[in-house]
């Protein structure tokens, strides 16, 4: 069984500080949904409101259409996986997993049987008698998942459970989590500050900043069509050019950036309409580092600018070239590793270009800090 989760105007205040402000979202039953945002953006607070450890100051949390107000965490159809997993160190692996059954008074045999089933599900067969400290990081992770699934929750809540693992294991666990979610078919709500995690696992992502939900959409949407400058800069890398609107026609805005004229597609609002921009309005034009090309490789005469190379960074699959324009604007230009950069040295001045379709124009707003 899986249930949908609906947050209706949820605000959570600690004194004068609002950790969540008027959050509205409907997470479908059986969906893998991620809340993505920087630390302190309120995503964990929101998860605690869903699990029942916190009551919203305003608004409602509905699970399966039922108002959860006043219902404690032990009575909700949810299970929470903690950031540090919070496995019980003094119990065996099987006792950990079957703790929720023990609570409900299940017999020893029934508990053991269920624990073994779940150990099979998370690929830890035969490890039930081990102590928690005898397991590796990835194995502990799976025990935590099995323990949470033992309550047969309709919604599984995960609070950055992979953050303590090393990169390789994290990537492996991503795939595995996604596979487990599809096998059990329940709703997963995942909290992370790691966009890689959010984008690879989720059906949809909700990007949060400063207690507010900035955008909800598929991974592709939030990456390709960000609604706010924050989303544009938090999800993936982006080059931001602040300027003023000169002209708008057919969904394309001509933007004056320090005297240069760039054109880009007008971005969409959270509701999916085009941002209603007006001439003279302050806007930001975004171009992804991988959307830039060397001007000599294109025939276009539009959207060209020159900059000086500062450093070149080798990242394995890509090379990042950092540049500064004459107006001291920092530019990041990414090329595949196979790209020949022999002629590009620090200090060299190069001309770059981009297409109007790959640029997005959004109303001015706060950017994500890097």
């Amino acid at each position: 069984m899986s249930a949908d989760v609906e947050l209706q105007g949820v605000s959570i205040a600690f004194g004068d500080f609002y950790a969540a402000k008027n959050v509205n979202v409907k997470i479908e039953a059986g969906e893998f949904f991620s809340f993505l945002g920087p630390s302190g953006c309120g995503k964990t607070t929101l998860l605690r409101a869903v699990s029942g450890f916190l009551e919203p100051s305003n608004g409602k949390v509905l699970i399966g259409g039922q108002n959860m107000s006043g219902i404690g965490p032990n009575k909700r159809p949810t299970a929470l996986i903690f950031q540090n997993l919070a496995l019980f160190p003094l119990m065996s692996v099987a006792d950990n997993i079957a703790f929720s059954l023990e609570v409900r008074g299940a017999s020893k045999q029934a508990r053991r049987k269920r624990a073994d089933e779940l150990l099979d599900l998370v690929a830890l067969s035969g490890q039930g008698d081990k102590k928690v400290h005898e397991l590796s990081g990835g194995q502990k992770q799976r025990v935590a998942i099995a323990r949470a699934l033992a309550v047969e929750p309709e919604v599984l809540l995960l609070d950055e459970p992979l953050s303590a693992l090393d990169l390789k294991l994290r990537q492996k666990m991503r795939t595995e989590l996604r596979a487990i979610q599809q096998r059990v078919g329940i709703t997963f709500i995942y909290i992370t500050h790691d966009q890689g995690e959010a984008l690879t696992m989720s059906d949809r992502v909700g990007v949060m900043n400063d207690g507010q939900l900035e955008q909800v959409g598929s991974c592709y949407e939030v990456y390709q069509a960000p609604s706010t400058p924050f989303v544009a800069t938090f999800v993936g890398e982006n080059n931001a050019f602040a300027g003023k609107v000169d002209k708008i026609s057919k969904g394309v805005a001509l933007v004056n950036v320090d005297g240069m004229s760039f054109s880009g597609a007008v971005g969409k609002t959270i509701e999916g309409d085009q941002h209603p921009l007006s001439v003279g309005e302050s806007v930001v034009l975004f171009v992804r580092p991988e959307s830039l090309t060397l001007a000599k490789d294109t025939k276009t005469t539009k959207n060209k600018f020159s900059a000086n190379i500062e450093t070149i960074e080798f990242e394995g699959n890509v090379k990042n070239i950092y540049l500064k324009t004459s107006t001291k604007k920092s530019i990041r230009f990414s090329v595949p590793s196979v790209f020949d950069t022999s002629g590009l040295n620090p200090g060299t001045k190069i001309d770059l270009a981009f297409t109007s379709e790959s640029a997005i124009v959004l109303p001015n707003g706060p950017l994500a800090l890097d």
């Binding site: 699990s51 032990n74 950031q83 919070a86 019980f88 003094l90 703790f99 609570v103 323990r147």
Partner: protein, 303 residues
């Protein structure tokens, strides 16, 4: 040893070695060995000590069990009775103390805000700046026939006749429980403070009631602290003197009072020593047995 001196410098090392040796040899080992030796010797006037009559004997231990040779009873019912009473009461006081301190320690360690924690710890410590004897008298004043509690209960009409709290040993139990409360709370607090709060939330999220969470998660985690606190409280209660002297009813006698009598009033240091050794050995044996039973190691208790 060389490493220790190198690491800490010669002055600090010398101080440590001398201080620890002095403490262990002069303050613990020699007096205890002297008592042990004395307990196996007859009680002789000074002139006869070291003479032909000064031979090792079990007479004082026999006296504890079988009584004096002139007594008609088969066993020394009085002394053994006092001993059993003392140990039994010490066990009871330890249990009361634990039941009372566990919620307080849990509250301070896990639920209170930092400022409330400081305030509560202060409130617990400050009364112990007052000497033990004075605290005992204060409790006597509370529980006396014309004491604060009786007067209050009579005044508001809950009682018609004053209750003799002293004769009922209510005052004694209260006094003994309160006397060593800090030695229970602090080990418990230390143990509970290291418990990850997420564990409590995880248990709750998995459907556990508060009671079960304590039984399955918190108490097992705090086991070493419970053992450590209980050991100290039991040992000190069984060996307490000032509080029982002030608060026990006329017909309650504490084993330490008996020891005190042999040493001071009857001038029989040998028998006093034998009785002390009995109390020490039985208390230690009891504690070790309990640790065995609850599967706690000494290492955990002193951690």
């Amino acid at each position: 040893m060389e490493g220790f001196i190198k690491k800490n410098g010669s002055v600090v090392s010398t101080f440590f070695l001398v201080a620890i040796t002095f403490w262990f040899v002069f303050l613990i080992l020699i007096p205890q060995l002297y008592m042990l030796d004395l307990s196996f010797r007859p009680n002789l006037p000074p002139l006869l000590r070291g003479g032909p009559d000064d031979v090792y004997t079990l007479t004082h231990y026999k006296h504890f069990i079988f009584g004096s040779e002139t007594s008609k009873d088969t066993y020394n019912y009085v002394d053994v009775g006092v001993f059993v009473d003392t140990i039994g009461t010490a066990i009871l006081v330890t249990i009361i103390n634990l039941c009372f301190c566990y919620p307080i320690a849990f509250y301070i360690a896990k639920l209170a805000t930092p400022s409330a924690t400081r305030l509560l710890i202060l409130a617990l410590i400050i009364p112990f700046w007052i000497n033990e004897l004075l605290r005992s008298f204060a409790i006597r004043i509370l529980f006396a026939g014309e004491g604060v509690i009786n007067n209050l209960l009579l005044e508001i009409g809950l009682l018609d006749v004053a209750i003799n709290f002293i004769a009922l040993d209510v005052a004694l139990y209260t006094g003994l429980t309160y006397a060593y409360i800090l030695l229970m709370i602090f080990p418990l607090y230390n143990a509970l403070e290291t418990l990850d709060t997420n564990q409590l939330e995880a248990a709750k999220d998995l459907g556990s009631s508060t009671l079960r969470t304590h039984w399955r998660i918190v108490i097992p985690h705090a086991k070493a602290g419970i053992a450590s606190g209980s050991t100290m409280v039991f040992m000190l209660t069984a060996g307490a003197l000032a509080t029982p002297v002030v608060l026990s009813s006329p017909n309650t006698f504490w084993f330490t009072q008996l020891i005190y009598q042999w040493f001071n009033m009857n001038d029989n240091w040998s028998r006093g020593s034998a009785y002390s050794i009995i109390l020490l050995v039985v208390s230690v044996a009891f504690v070790l047995l309990m640790m065995r039973l609850f599967k706690v190691t000494i290492g955990e208790v002193v951690r």
